[in-house]
Symmetry: C2
Subunit: 331 residues, 2 copies
Amino acid sequence: MADLRRDPIIGRWVIVDTDHANKPEDYEYEQYTPKGGNCPFCYGSESLTPPEIDSIRDLHTQPNTPGWQVRVVPNKFPALQIEGDIDRRGLGMYDLSNGIGAHEVLIETPYHNKDISDLLNEEIEKFVSMYSRRSLDLEKDKRFKYLMIFRNYGSAAGASLEHPHTQIVALPMVPKNVMEELKGAEKYFEYRERCIFCDIIRQEIQEKERVILENKYFIAFCPFVSRFPFEIWIMPKKHNGYFCRISTEELPAFAAILKETIGKIKKVFPNLSYNYIIHTSPINGDGGADSYHWHLEFMPKLTRVAGFEWGTGFYLVPTPPELAAQYLKAV
Amino acid sequence: MADLRRDPIIGRWVIVDTDHANKPEDYEYEQYTPKGGNCPFCYGSESLTPPEIDSIRDLHTQPNTPGWQVRVVPNKFPALQIEGDIDRRGLGMYDLSNGIGAHEVLIETPYHNKDISDLLNEEIEKFVSMYSRRSLDLEKDKRFKYLMIFRNYGSAAGASLEHPHTQIVALPMVPKNVMEELKGAEKYFEYRERCIFCDIIRQEIQEKERVILENKYFIAFCPFVSRFPFEIWIMPKKHNGYFCRISTEELPAFAAILKETIGKIKKVFPNLSYNYIIHTSPINGDGGADSYHWHLEFMPKLTRVAGFEWGTGFYLVPTPPELAAQYLKAV
């Protein structure tokens, strides 16, 4: 038998297999181990990237030379280009615009082979604080409406370079998926005068079933309406619409829960590929702040999205999140 | 430089790389060749599947024995179960329902290793007519609101069995992705009193740039707002909201264009994995018929969906559809 579960934020249904639930050993996933070799993100190869935008580096070292701990550079093959004004136009019944935006790559660590779970808490804090520093800088550009911070780790997750990195894309419009979440959260807020995410946190903490980790400022849990098996959300307990307004007390707690979460899931699924995405409110006055609540969505690459999911927007989840949380808690 | 293009139906933006467009040889995709071996969908293994629901078979042969050309069986591991009434309930702030629906597998041919491009037109006609026959039967069940017909071919497309097959899922609600298309098409219809898909066909035939194939009843083209490189839509020229109402004149033309389209793309990309999905109006009075226009969406598995796409709902398209159409026309 299967449960149909409906996402309270955007109304998406998922089908959760409660009868023949997959155990971790039932997943045949593409394992990923870095091969190493020539890498433009390693020490000594700084000249192979465009000049750096920002970095955290040792005193007395020069930009674009070794000595950095975190380094941000423009993407060499940007999806969008930084110069110009936005120019929307029609083409018969179609609409198009030039591709204005920013596309930055944040090199998280000098270590080619270390995933987040292998780093020290302070090392993680450094690159996460850089997420926020770049966000605060990019939001000064009034052409931008949204900052998307995401990380692809491993080949199955679509990472084209091995060296651990995060991408930041500044967009001239609020993207469709974000808009749906914002609208859903706004509706709930209008109706109940409460943030839907704050309510989710309350219910999760009370029910405990799906919570994997909790510290003073954050919880990590498998969402009731997961789209993917072993999906995990990390959420600040205190309401805050904007990731970039993470406080200095929260930052170490965020680094710690991120490290521990990734450590746990990689114990259950060695050499896992995954994506994570920071969901945050739009910038420059496009709404969200009160009714939206920033969080990180972690998506392990255990299954492949097939025709059914593409066609319906329904997802088939072979392991109920309650069971996934059990496995993750146990390691 | 990149184009941002906006889908006229649901308003999704995609980013099309017009400057450094990928050529076919630039794609490193997972190639797929069937391995063969024991297969529950081959001749002589009929007892390994649940008893057949329908088949097209030689005279004087018995159900669940060899002699069939097309065979439909219930999915052995259905996403949804056929018995029972729909029972929606709340769980704190969450919603759930039991998983009522039908999940059928349509075995397209007795040949384990033949993809659609290797079959005769009449063989394709047979299984496509079965799509329609099963639809007409399933829509009699008033609990169902939508019939999703989709095909996963190859491992990268999420096919778990090699033997060519299509899946039909009957759902107790209209899924989110379909609802978005329906609403978008309805809005256009209210505003212009024309079907948006009929207008797309007109523009595509006039501009020619993106059209790959055309016969009396159908066109195959790379949509202006493709989500995936080398995405192809096959559309009936005559307005029709429901796939299952395909006419007997259209059927052979549909089989022919489907075979030729798949033949072409597999010449450009040997051993390609792909999904296709039939987009059609909801059944049992849930709207669509006038403003919606059935069509088939063909999605080659050349790239992997990564964090950016998951987060935004934006898609990055490394080959403009105009260029993809050129390559497909040339073979």
